[in-house]
């Protein structure tokens, strides 16, 4: 009896994972088909933003090092992933309510789907960056460290997205707050400056910002031959797990109540 239950539980988990993956594929296909050069914009987005930042920091502000472009690109890649995935969660549930009023679909599936779609973009970007770094022999790329940082980033994003999606579904104004927050975070998270430029007394506080931490650690993994700060990453994992448990618990709990409240 127990074996049968375990087998059916495993089967259910596999089915759920397959379901989420297929939903993600649908989401990606839809976002690509929205534009004429769909997938090209995916790849061009971080590059275009890097060019803009490069012009600002190198040409206008005169700050230049050997690996400035790669430095900016890595930071932007991580920041764009976090920003798009978490901000995107604001619009995961509300547009799906119309469909949810006619078919039962678990709301947390939409949140996970959107984050996974952005995660695929991040992987493609990292892969292209890896090819570029290898080709031009810039920096010091560590696959294991990159995977660790990416895993922590995805975990943090899933957890944040669950809470953001739920709150925004009930209080739509929260979406604006998220937007303003990301605007501020762009400037204070080290997107275009390194940790060395932060005063010593502010470094610990700086690294308590998850966005700053993840960008810094990804740069270590892909450019610099240093070790990751596993303590801080471990703390972020624990915080993400706690947030994720709270967020998904309430998403599941309010799954059949949200269609009543969301217009």
């Amino acid at each position: 009896m127990r074996k049968t239950n375990q087998a059916s539980t495993i089967s259910q988990v596999i089915t759920a994972l397959e379901y989420i993956c297929r939903l993600t594929v649908v989401q990606i296909r839809q976002s690509v088909k929205n534009y004429t050069f769909g997938i090209v914009w995916w790849l061009a987005d971080p590059v275009i933003n890097t060019v803009i930042l490069y012009l600002v920091t190198v040409v206008v502000m005169g700050r230049r090092t050997q690996d400035t472009a790669v430095f900016l690109l890595v930071g932007l890649l991580m920041f764009r992933f976090l920003q798009t995935a978490i901000s995107g969660a604001c619009t995961s549930i509300i547009p799906a309510i119309g469909l949810s009023n006619r078919l039962y679909i678990p709301k947390h599936a939409f949140v996970i789907r959107d984050v996974l779609a952005e995660m695929l973009k991040l992987f493609i970007g990292i892969l292209l960056l890896f090819m570029g770094i290898s080709l031009f022999d810039i920096g010091h790329f560590s696959i294991l460290q990159t995977l660790i940082v990416t895993f922590v980033a995805v975990l943090f994003t899933l957890a944040s997205a669950s809470i953001v999606a739920l709150v925004t579904a009930i209080i739509p104004d929260f979406r604006l707050i998220v937007g303003y927050t990301f605007r501020a975070l762009f400037f204070v998270s080290g997107t275009f400056f390194s940790l060395e430029r932060v005063p010593e007394e502010w470094k610990n506080l700086f690294l308590m910002n998850p966005f700053a931490l993840l960008m810094h650690e990804l740069r270590i993994a892909m450019i610099y031959p240093d070790s990751l700060n596993l303590n801080l990453l471990g703390n972020l994992i624990l915080i993400s797990l706690a947030m994720g448990v709270i967020g998904y618990f309430w998403l599941v709990r309010l799954d059949r109540s949200l269609p009543k409240y969301v217009l």
């Binding site: 379901y19 649908v26 296909r29 088909k33 009023n101 006619r102 209080i171 059949r256 269609p259 409240y261």
Partner: protein, 376 residues
């Protein structure tokens, strides 16, 4: 304390209960924004008791806003009841027939078939074996490989309807969706739904078309202002529904009827106020009469349609009876012919027997003669 979706194991058999609602109620919030969180709301359905058995077909009737769709959404698991208990047998799926729900305009019809099936919880491999049947049933032909955004409303509805019919569901709920497409497709859709009715699926039908409900459903439920008013056989529930609809004619606009000369002479202000009230009452009465006339004309047209349908039915039955009579007289003629043939056969047998007897006598004579010769 609200309990929903308890699951039990029962042995399957026809007429087993697969859905049971006990005193369920759903409260829907009012207002906008955060006000919806703390508004008292209104009870869309309340104190609803309902049982559905495997293979049963139930009509759900009520005027607009009575709570029919809310009830179906609660059964489908989309909404959670705020009170009462909803039980659905373990492993039983309940879906609302929702043609076109989930279609993405940028994707082709074929891609949308797989997507919508996914929303229903079916993987592409489950749908692939039926994809050709779905496309054939929808009658959209080569348009299936074009983006759904270019389809007409009828094409979207047909494709969605075809897909919904092929996705297996133990409890199918049809919420006024049998009017999709042109007349030919509607007949086809009805035939397909009727086929479902003969299987062990349970079906709940919501429609304002009484003919459809009478043809498809065994029993009916009448719901009004969120409460079940009546449950029973179709004819009884239909009659109750019509009675209820006629009561809607009596509008209450808050003014009492007065005579046009109802003018008091206390002061000029009072005179004007009473005259305005009288005019408002006359207008209200006029609106009531027009509304009642509209309802009466609608009912008359309905009766006329019923009468025409009955006449057609009688004509068909008369033709069938005439054919049966012709067949019967043909059969009696055949029996008469058979009788004659049998009589001839009997005569022939008698003749044959007589001939045999004569032959036997002759033989006997020959034998006697031989014996006589031997003795000599």
């Amino acid at each position: 304390m609200t309990e929903t979706r308890n699951v039990f194991n029962e042995s399957s058999s026809q007429n087993e209960i697969i859905l049971q609602a006990t005193n369920i109620g759903v409260r829907m919030p009012k207002g906008r924004g955060m006000h919806r969180l703390w508004s008292k709301g209104h009870w869309a359905i309340r104190e609803v008791n309902f049982e559905l058995r495997r293979g049963e077909t139930v009509a759900l009737m009520g005027h607009n806003g009575s709570g029919k769709s809310t009830l179906l959404r609660t059964f489908a698991g989309i909404l959670e009841p705020d009170e009462g208990e909803l039980w659905i047998k373990e492993g039983t799926s309940a879906t609302i027939l929702a043609p076109g729900a989930g279609f993405i305009n940028q994707l082709t019809g074929r891609e949308n078939i797989f997507n919508v099936a996914l929303y229903h919880g079916f993987m592409p491999r489950d749908v692939a074996q039926h994809i050709d049947e779905i496309i054939d049933f929808s009658e959209i032909g080569s348009w299936v490989d074009e983006p759904v955004g270019v389809y007409s409303a009828g094409m979207r509805a047909r494709l969605g309807f075809a897909l919904s019919l092929y996705l297996p569901s133990d409890i199918l709920m049809i919420d006024e969706t049998l009017s999709a497409g042109d007349a030919a497709f509607r007949e086809k859709a009805k035939a397909a739904v009727n086929q479902l009715l003969t299987s062990d699926k349970a079906v709940i039908v919501v429609s304002h078309n009484t003919q459809t409900l009478t043809e498809m459903c065994d029993t009916g439920i009448l719901i009004d202002s969120g409460k079940v008013v009546m449950k029973g056989l179709m004819d009884d529930v239909l009659a109750a529904h019509e009675n209820l609809s006629s009561k809607v004619v009596n509008l209450d606009v808050g003014f009492e009827e007065t005579d046009k000369d109802d003018v008091t002479s206390n002061s000029s202000g009072d005179v004007k106020l009473n005259f305005n009230r009288a005019r408002a009452s006359r207008e209200a009465t006029k609106r009531k009469r027009e509304f009642a006339r509209g309802i009466f004309n609608e009912k008359l047209a309905g009766f006329e349609i019923k009468a025409c349908n009955l006449l057609e039915t009688w004509k068909e039955e008369k033709n069938v009876i005439s054919q049966n009579i012709d067949t019967a007289s043909g059969i009696s003629e055949m029996f008469e012919q058979l009788d004659e043939a049998y009589k001839e056969h009997l005569k022939a047998r008698i003749t044959l027997e007589n001939a045999r007897l004569i032959d036997l006598e002759k033989l006997q004579l020959v034998d006697d003669a031989r014996v006589a010769l031997k003795l000599k």
